[in-house]
Each structure stands twice: as C-alpha cells, then as structure tokens.
Amino acid sequence: MEWVKKLENKLSLEYIKQELLRTAFSTEKSFFTQLDPRILLAWYSYFAIVPWFIYEHVTLVGYLLFMILLTIIARVSPLILTVLSIGLAGEILLLGFIALFFGGDLSIVAPMFWLSIKLAVISLASVTVFSSINPEKFSDALLRFGVPAQFSFSVAYAYRILPTLLEEFQQIILSYRLRGLAPSKNGVLYFRKIYYYIMILIKSFYPLILNSAKRSRTTVEALEIKGFSYAAKDKRVLKMKTSYLQTSQMDWLFLLLTVCYVVIVHGLQLIF
C-alpha cells in the first residue's frame, strides 16, 4: 500500500494548486514567443486541417520531422510530451489486441500507425503554438480576427481569477473537512474514503456557486461602468487596443521557410 501513500501526497490540494498555478503562469521564452500571434494562428490552421487529407507516407513523415524539430525549438514541457506519446502508443496497442481477439491479424496496426502519425503532426503543431503563445496576445489576436469580445475577455479574466478561485475552493473544502467526520475505516478498496471525498467535493460546489455568482455580478458591473459592451462593438476601440500587434520580418521569414519546406516534401512525394 506504499503507492497509496504516495498518491495521497500527490493528490493533496496544496500540491495540485501549486502545480496548476505553475503550469498556467509559466511561459518559457523561445523562438515562437517573439512571433506575431496572428501569423502563428494562420500557420497553425494549415497544419491542423491539411494533414487529415494526406495519406501519402513520405509527406506524413516529412511533416512529422518538421514538427519534431519545431517542438524541440519551442521547448515544450516534457510532461505534456509524455502524456501525448503514451496516449498515441496506447491506442495502437489496444486496437491491435482487440483485432487479434476478433480473429483479424496484425494488418490492422499499419493503418492505425499512419493515423497516429497524422495525429502526432496535428497535436505537435498545436502544442508548439499554444504552449509558447502569450495568452494576452492570443486573446488580442482573436479579437483582431473578429472573435466576440466576450471570449477574448474570458481568456484574460481566467488568468486573473484562477488564483482567487483556487484559494476559495481550498478554504471551502478545508472547512467542510474540519466540520465533518472522516470515516475511521478505509473500507473495501478505499471505498469509504473515496465516497467521503467525493461527497465533500460535490457539497463544496454549493457555497462556491453562490460566491462566484456574487463575484461575477461585481465583475460585470465593473465592466459596464467602463463601458465594456459598447466598446466591444466599436471598431475604433478595437483598432486602438490591438495596434501593438505588428508583424516583423521574422514572421514572414518563418512563413517563407514553412512554405519552402512544404514544397520540398510534396516534391519528394511526387518523385518517390
């Protein structure tokens, strides 16, 4: 039962809180952080859609190599990469086993393997872009693309409110635990303990919903005092707000590089 103790340590609220804050607020400086978010989003939309319709192996491998190189440059956190690769490998293995079970043979694995490469290209592209994009810049780029102001406000708001929310959630759970009586026995497979914690978790949303309702009213009233919903519709305000977004030479060089690389890969595909 050593691992249960370990898990209990890992699952302590304080640990989760710190882990969440660390992941949410740390953006490492890399090559991609200096690029314009609009260029990055346009670049990403190519690599998120086009690979779905490519079935040629040479092209897929070429795309994958490019993505791996970019992931290294972007310094994506190893934790995310591990989660990604375990998920991809696990899916193939599981499907292979089930296919064998049904009397098929391992020929099922080959098409699934190419599908996984396709998925890997797409997910690496998104990891590279979204782990190095600054949330504030991202929301402004969305504003510029015509996404409703409510959404881009939410991105910024979420980053501001997260520490407060976590703090409050922790306080509520702690007070429930102080007042309640924890089960003395663990029960079969820790059933009693798990049941007890789940009950606390659900109950603690009751005060949390009431408190958040008050807070969201305050927030919206404060926004309206500053004329948020009128400003959101005004084109001039939008222009003023996002005027700092400017493409540099680096952005166009990056796009040019990508275009050339894609041309090379598709050219090789035609030859082989």
Partner: protein, 285 residues
C-alpha cells in the same frame, strides 16, 4: 402571478456566462489532473463534472450557461495547461453546448427532482452519444481504405462502445445525476437573486425564448459544415496525391529543380533568421 417571460439584459447574460465559465473551468482543471484507473481494457476515469453546467443551465438561461461552460473548458482545461487540441476542440465545444442546452430545456420546474434527473441524463447522454459518433467518424476519415482492413471496424466500435458505457455509468451517475439532484433544488431561489434575476417558473420560462429562429439557423449551418467536411473526405479528396500534368511532359527533372530552388530558399531564410535573431538578442542585452 407574473406571466411575463423572464427577460435577460446584456449584462445578466454576461454574468451567467462568466459564472458558468469560471466554475466549470475550475472543475475541468481537476478532472484533467485526476489519474485514470485501468481495469484491463476498461479505463475508469472522471470525464467531467457535468453537474455544474447542467445545474446552471437548469437555473438560468441555458444558452449562455452552456456556451460559458464550453468556453471555460477550453480556457482553463486546455489553454492554461498548455494542451489545447486546436480545431478538434471546436467540435467538442459545439457538442457539449448542445447537450447542456437540451438538458437545461427539459427542466421547467427545478424543484421537481424527476425533471432534474431526466434533464441531467438527457443532457449528458446526448453529449456522449454525439461525441462517440464523431470519434468513430474521425477514424473512418483518417484511415485510408477503412473497410478493407479486417477487424478494424469491429475493434473501433468495441473500444468506443466500452468508453461510452463506462463514461455514462460512472460520470453519468456519480458526477452528473446525483450532484444535480442535490444542488439544483437547493440553489433554486437562492442564486438567481444574486444575479438580479427571477427564479425560473413554468410561467416565465418558455422553450421558444431560447430556441429562436437565429439559434436554429446557426445550428443547422454548423451541422451542415460538419457534414460537408465528412463528405469531402468520402469523395477521395486527397491533397497529397495531386499529380500535375507537367510531370508527365517534362519528367522528374522539373521536380528536382523545384526542390533545389526550395532548398536554396530554406538556406537563405535560415541565414537571414539567424542574422535577425542575433540583432534581436543584441537589442535585448
């Protein structure tokens, strides 16, 4: 008795949106982190705390609560943790919102437990059914000659079916129906005044206020778009196998020429980027 339908001002809609977004987003961060338990091929994991958006959809305007929750998931659960799935998230956004809206519409009187339970099951169940269908479709599109591989179709259906059942039984009961039954009647009449709203009654809540003509047309357009993408791939629309005619006329030499020029361009671009990068780092120091 007030017969007037409940009206929502712009800022009340925004309040509902923000409330739903921050609460569901917070819960989503936890479900992303809670590890799953593997029992052989069956994976037990908490999919989401669907009771939060469902409870809010039952108490407030379902549309804004549902959209807020779906937005919260994208921002808290994906963007902040650095695992945004890109375009794939849009499909989840739409499906999740549809499920939650339907769940919220079923409930006319939040004090009646039977209605709340029905709404919770319907809402979450609809979302699960839709997302299972989309998952299967995705593999059918992504794998070439899907029907030709023996055993593939069966195993996909088994995997997706098992996932659907475990999600529905575990998350559906423990984290959807039971908490909704606990929370909704308790919150009813308490949380609405905090946002300056009247509690929902059968008299002031009409389905036609939510399902407007605009809503129907937008959702019809969205589903048409999704169908279009699915059809596009059925038509063997294949970007990689584009073979232009000039290859036949001039042979592979032309392609080698194009590749050569492209490589030259890559080299020049890389050189320029390095130069520029050095200048930038000088500026910073």
């Amino acid at each position: 008795m007030l017969k007037k339908p409940a009206t929502f001002t712009q800022s009340q809609k925004m309040m509902i949106f923000i409330l739903s977004m921050s609460l569901y987003g917070l819960s989503n961060m936890f479900t992303e982190l809670i590890p799953s338990v593997q029992l052989g091929p069956i994976e037990l994991q908490i999919d989401c705390f669907a009771f939060i958006p469902l409870a809010l959809c039952m108490l407030f305007h379902p549309f804004y609560a549902a959209i807020g929750a779906a937005t919260g998931e994208i921002i808290f659960g994906e963007l902040m943790l650095g695992q945004f799935g890109g375009i794939g998230e849009i499909e989840k956004f739409i499906l999740f919102s549809i499920g939650m809206i339907v769940g919220g519409l079923v409930v006319r009187n939040p004090k009646k437990k039977a209605q709340v339970a029905l709404g919770a099951i319907l809402g979450y169940g609809l979302f699960l059914v839709l997302s299972t269908i989309v998952d299967i479709l995705k593999i059918v599109i992504g794998v070439e000659e899907f029907e030709a591989v023996p055993g593939l179709a069966e195993s996909i259906f088994i995997v997706e079916g098992v996932e659907f059942l475990t999600d529905f039984l575990l998350t559906g009961t423990l984290f959807t129906v039971l908490p909704a039954l606990y929370l909704v009647p308790r919150l009813y009449g308490k949380v609405e005044p905090l946002l300056g709203l009247k509690p929902r009654t059968a008299a002031n809540f009409r389905v036609s206020d939510v399902i407007t003509l605009k809503f129907i047309s937008v959702s019809a357009l969205l589903s048409l778009g999704a169908l279009g993408i699915a059809l596009l791939s059925e038509l063997d629309f294949n970007l990689g196998s584009w073979e232009p005619e000039f290859v036949d006329t001039y042979g592979n030499g032309v392609i080698w020429g194009v590749i050569g020029v492209a490589i030259l361009c890559v080299c020049i671009t890389l050189w320029l980027m390095m130069k520029k990068g050095k200048e930038n780092s000088h500026d910073l120091s």
